[in-house]
Amino acid sequence: MLRILLKRFGFMVLTLAAVSVVAFVLIQLPPGDFADAYANKKQATGGPISLEEMVELRERLGLNRPWSVQYFDWISKIVLHGDFGYSWGWKRPVADVIAERMPFTLILAFSTLFFMYAIAIPIGIYSAVRQYSISDYVVSVVGYIGLATPNFLLALILMYLGQKYFGQSVGGLFSPEFQDVDWSWARAKDLIGHLWVPIIVLGTSGTAYLIRTLRASVLDELNKMYVVAARAGGLSPTQLLLKYPVRIALNPIVATLGWRISAIISGAPIVGVVMSLPDTGPLFLQALLDQDMALAGAMVLIFAALTIVGTFISDILLVMLDPRISLES
């Protein structure tokens, strides 16, 4: 058990290292650099900058050093000092900019995850047990619609409906009066009141997918010989369902946990922009447009790390759930 954990942990660190390189390269890939983007922006606002100024800017930011040097400079500061660099776009340390918005992203991601599982697991089991009943069909139809609707469209529809029928602006995460005040009970309540819309937007397709997976695997298990054997021992239908088919059907659900997290997080920027959420989504998009390399790189790295850690956690859960796995490695 311990050996497996160590092995998986080793893989996780290696993957993180590889991802950091990829993240860095990806950020560098588009033509031009921060100086070009900065110059373009200045030009657009009517204040062109000279060539000398650009050379000086590049020199100051170290942009004309080789990529490999820039990479090691970047990553060693992060690993050794927790220093993510300086965001030239925001004129503040990257860590500060991210720290301001990351909590919202995390709150949103984990509450979406929580609601997805809380809704999908009982409904998935129910529609398997009631296969081909009216409620099973209703769940299936709603599920397919949920799977097929793009997030941004769902966001627009919900915002429109919210505006029209509740007279409430459902964009953002706070009502105007709570925008920039200190945390209080009322502000938290206001946040919860706003949170459900992005949760629905981000969670619908994942929930629909989870319901289908769970339904299929519970159905699969229900017909297994060992379920009949256990029924022959006198277990009631509920005892039986919870002890065997559900237990086994949870495996694939748990196994995709890490992947779910990444799906939510990568779906977040578009939704964040459409709904003008104060989370990291719009920040990320802006950083990419500005070629604000330190900020964009840090965010890609953090998102990737979340996914990888999520996968690691789901691996551990899986080993705990299924005794056969520890044998294989």
């Binding site: 017909n223 297994k224 010989m225 060992y226 009949v228 054997a229 256990a230 029924r231 022959a232 021992g233 006198g234 277990l235 009631s236 239908p237 002890k243 065997y244 237990r247 086994i248 759930l321 299924d322 005794p323 056969r324 044998l327």
Partner: protein, 346 residues
Amino acid sequence: MNDDTILEVKDLHIKLKSDGVEFPIVEGVSFELKAGKVLALVGESGCGKSVTSASILRLLPRELDITSGQIQFRPPGSDKVVNIVDLPKEGKGIRHVRGNQIAMIFQEPMSSFSPLHTIGNQVSEVVRLHLKVSKKEARARTVKMLDKVGISDPDRAFDQYPYEFSGGMRQRAMIAKALSCNPSVLIADEPTTALDVTIQAQVLDLMRELRREMGMAIVFITHDLGVVAQIADDVAIMYMGRIVEQGPVREIFANPRHPYTVNLLRAVPRLGNLRDRQKLTPIQGSVPSLFDRPTGCTFHPRCSAYIKGTCEASVPPMVNISEHHSVRCFSPEATAPVATASEVAT
């Protein structure tokens, strides 16, 4: 129901419902099981042995339904007889019978255990459920039971997972589970078919020994007449959802009257016919499909004693040939011994 009868199936009909059409699967099966005796249910694949046995515990899949008939059961130490067919589906009544008074073991030891739960957890499940004992006591009982069925180091085995067990070991664990509440009837649906020959013999020996010790009656399903000769007191031969011949094993083997039974016995390899260089005679043709069931006696298209105009016209009634021996045939074979039980058993 006689006093020494513990289970009696009377005119049982089971149908398959598919897209609003009904297909008969079991048609008027009747048999009696006496306390402590072994009844073998024999027939080719698909003749309805498993369906019949599953219906006794009301374990039929949802496509299949008991449409008429009775399954009378006398619970141990009680004068009252329960008709299992009348018990509510998945209700307390049938659940109290399952695993407690009537237990069942299955053909596939490999898939009869959940891969994610320990052997001990699954074997002790029935004890915890029916005997209402503490966890510790359930464990003690289960370990004792595992020991009884010949699993070495039972205390360690309790905490092992099914993948750590061989097929034979799993079947032993299955038997331990089935017998741990001391049921008065054990239904064994081809318990040895999936095992290789030496293990088969061991498991069969074990079952015989346990029956002697614990005294439960057994419905033993098989298509192996050799096994029947070794373990059963009575035998019922099934063909396409009907019992065609029924009686004490010795009597049927010595004096088979239904052409199908005669054919089955001729198809069994024996020391005798190896010596005499007799050929094994396979049965002509194959079992017709569910969907074009022959009229009248369903065996008539394959039968050597077929009487035109009679056999396909109506279903022959079950006729008593002697006190315990009955046959369902319009032209039963003359008394011509094919084999003795001890010959087949070798």
